[in-house]
Amino acid sequence: MADKTKVGKEYPPVTWEVERGKIAELAKAIGDFDSIYLDKEAAIKQGYKDTPAPPTFLTVPMMWSSSMPGVINDLQINFMMVLHGEEEYEYYRQIYPGDKLTGTPKVASIEEKTSKSGSRMDMVTIEILYMDQNGEKVAKARTLLVERK
């Protein structure tokens, strides 16, 4: 079960340089061929500085850096029993190629819940605030992990 003593703990920041190719690759993997993700000129015509990151792009730095699996491990959550319950993003500005993001995961809360069927679960909320190369806020991600017991 999740280690409740770690509520409030911050993990080492993940740094990630955003590449144009990665933005296009994620969009294509989703099957989203909107030209704003694939073509800088098309993006500029539609009011962007460059090809913007799709809405779920911030999963990329967390997964490729293995940061999220590391957090799950540190919280002593059983990988086999964990479900991704919720995911939420607040966007403060667009993410573009060349941005150097720094994301700091923090354990926001761990709550025990009992489902209608009587099974017990830990609800673990991880928040990650992403800053850019100028120290400006870019986005906040919130992940709810559900560990069944």
Binding site: K22, E25, L26, K28, A29, I30, G31, D32, D34, S35, I36, A42, Q46, G47, Y48, P52, P54, P55, T56, T59, V60, M62, M63, W64, S65, M80, L83, H84, G85, E86, E87, E88, Y89, E90, Y91, Q94, R142
Partner: protein
């Protein structure tokens, strides 16, 4: 691509244009694993998935389905106006599923000088099983 849209164009109760994705094929899980960095074999290795209790084999990445819903949103409301987007994962998706995304405007308001519309979104499969329920806020320009 999304057309330009204004706060005045949107009314509470308006429906988001429906988006249909799929049927999902296993190859898409491989592409998504590589793109996202989520290499959990539950999504790409049938033997592993069966060994951990998925009798029909691999299941889709929840974040792939969240990506589908994101596509539905930004095909309607330009990416640059989306301020907040969150989902609850309600059910597992499998290869062969066709996912339909619908949405509806729940609220519009002026907040701190921004023209905010709040919408609910749902993704369900061909049997009507819900995979994701979610919500997004967008800050839209005004004609005025």
């Amino acid at each position: 691509m999304a057309q330009e849209i204004y706060f005045e164009d949107i009314n509470v109760g308006d429906e988001m244009p429906e988006l249909v994705k799929g049927p999902i094929v296993k190859l898409q899980h491989v592409m998504y694993a590589g793109a996202s960095g989520d290499f959990n074999p539950l999504h790409t290795d049938d033997d592993f998935a069966k060994a951990v209790g998925m009798k029909d084999g691999v299941i889709s990445h929840g974040m792939l389905i969240m990506g589908f819903v994101g596509q539905a949103i930004t095909s309607w409301i330009p990416r640059k106006y989306v301020k907040k987007y969150g989902v609850r994962f309600a059910g597992m998706t499998r290869p062969g599923n066709t996912i339909t995304i619908t949405g509806r405007v729940k609220d519009k308001r002026v907040e701190k000088g921004e023209n905010i519309v709040s919408c609910e979104v749902v993704a369900h499969d061909e049997n009507g099983d819900v995979k994701i329920t979610g919500r997004f806020d967008a800050a839209l320009p005004s004609k005025g």
